[in-house]
Amino acid sequence: MTVKFGIGNKRLRESTLIWFLLFPSLAVFLLYRILPLAWNGVLSLQFWSMYKPPRFAGLYHYKELFLYDDVFRQSLWNTLLFMVGSPIGIALGLMIALLVNRPIFGRNIYRTIIFMSFPVMTVATGVIWLWLFSEKTGLINYFLMYIGLIDHSQPFLEDFNLALPSIVLVSIWQVVGLYMIIILTGLQNIPPSIYQAAKIDGANSWQQFWLITFPLLRPSIFLCLIIGIINSFNAFDLVYVMTGGGPGHATELLITYIYKTAFTLARFDYAAAITVINFSLFLALTWLVNRMSGGNAGAVETN
């Protein structure tokens, strides 16, 4: 949908209007995203100390990252595993949205309770779940043993294989409410007439889902994926409060590793190199997801 304007100074006036409208947002992003990214890029090519003038280091940090640093490889792997959490969360959100969308009694109450966990402060969520998972007196262990699923209590956050899934579970608990709401928006945008037509052609509920609901929900699901990626940055507070990087580096994400390198070890040049790689990984991921979902970034198409 484009608006074509006339000639000469009308075109000039129109472009000043557009750039004027874009100016505040672009100023914020320039100041707080692009300049810092450039700062990190420059820094990753230097031996940089807080007290001494920096010296050029070429690709020294990148070489050390890929050859020596197995913690970097593990945190990279953990971050990708963490990204798998968001599709699971979206699937859950989709199922709940389908259930809540039905005309049943009290669906508003269900919808509010499920969404209530999103505005909760991440630090507080971390504290709550830290004690729910605790080995000796955690409620989860007590419940699992009560129903006989396990015979002795499991150290969820101290176990090398269970620590990361536990954090993924908590991050899903926190964001599934928002996924449900976004998908609900998509569901309610589908005009009911399409369903009547499908019923007349004899499509059962399963075919209705696959042929109508799911394709039309693609933009909402794409929006949830984008929010999932951004939410993985918020997972920093969760990992920081619950396990601080977990047993060994089992729950070390790229973001916690950047924070630890920059602020506990005061190695800003090394942390800058990890930031640059983290940024390019996520950019490639978004470009891929954008390409997959029909190239219109985040638009909730309806026509």
């Binding site: 874009l22 947002s25 209530m116 954008n290």
Partner: protein
Amino acid sequence: MRRHSLWATHLLLSTTCLVMLVPFYWLLKTSLTGENLFSYPPALLPDNPHIFYYVDAWYSIPFVRYLLNSVVVSAIVIVANIIFNAMAGYALTMDFKGKRVVILLLLSCMMVPYQATVVPAYLLTKELGLLNSHLGMALPLMSTIVCIFMFKASFAAVPRSLIDSARIDGVPEWQIIFRIMLPLSQSAIATNVVLAFTWSWNSFLWPLIILRDDNMQTLPLGLANFLSVVEDTSGALYAFCIMVLIPGLVIFLLAQKQFIQGLTTGATKG
């Protein structure tokens, strides 16, 4: 609705609600009884609950002062977010030379982890002289890229005839945005308010870096200080967690009719 599928729906939904509510209940119970959490088996019902832990928490951290700071910062962030995102969203509906570059730029900005931008952002805020101020805390969150795209989509969905007739009547451009387009994209505004509120209310690392004196601190900082000082699991920590959660929940429960209703009316029904 066949009989058994109704029951199935209710059963599934109530178990989900149970899973969502158990952590809150556990938090409330511990804030009332505050037993040493290493007594096994964990008691499901609170025994001799008392509210003295809330008194402890109240006197150890200036709660009202922190709440005020958090509310001011969130208010600035929400107001700025709606204005800036609406403006940018409207601009993106129009065609202009650098449009592709701007969209690519916005997409890539989404991917910069804010933890890594903290130090350069601090240096820039120092130049602006906004250190140690509410505006300084709000500035990085003033615009959210996801919401710009949402506004773009909902503006694009507004029927052309409405805009052209307004233009013919001589309505100025900005009135078109704020008087005609905005009221029609309720869902974008509602999502933007929810996201902006949550991310500004929960921001922890940025205020930690730029704030110097104590009476400017926000609630997450208060909770983190509490965790560091007390570093224990007595009821006072959980009481403070509850006190930190209540404002967010009260605002949400009061406004949730507008939020959810705004979200689910969708763009077209405007």
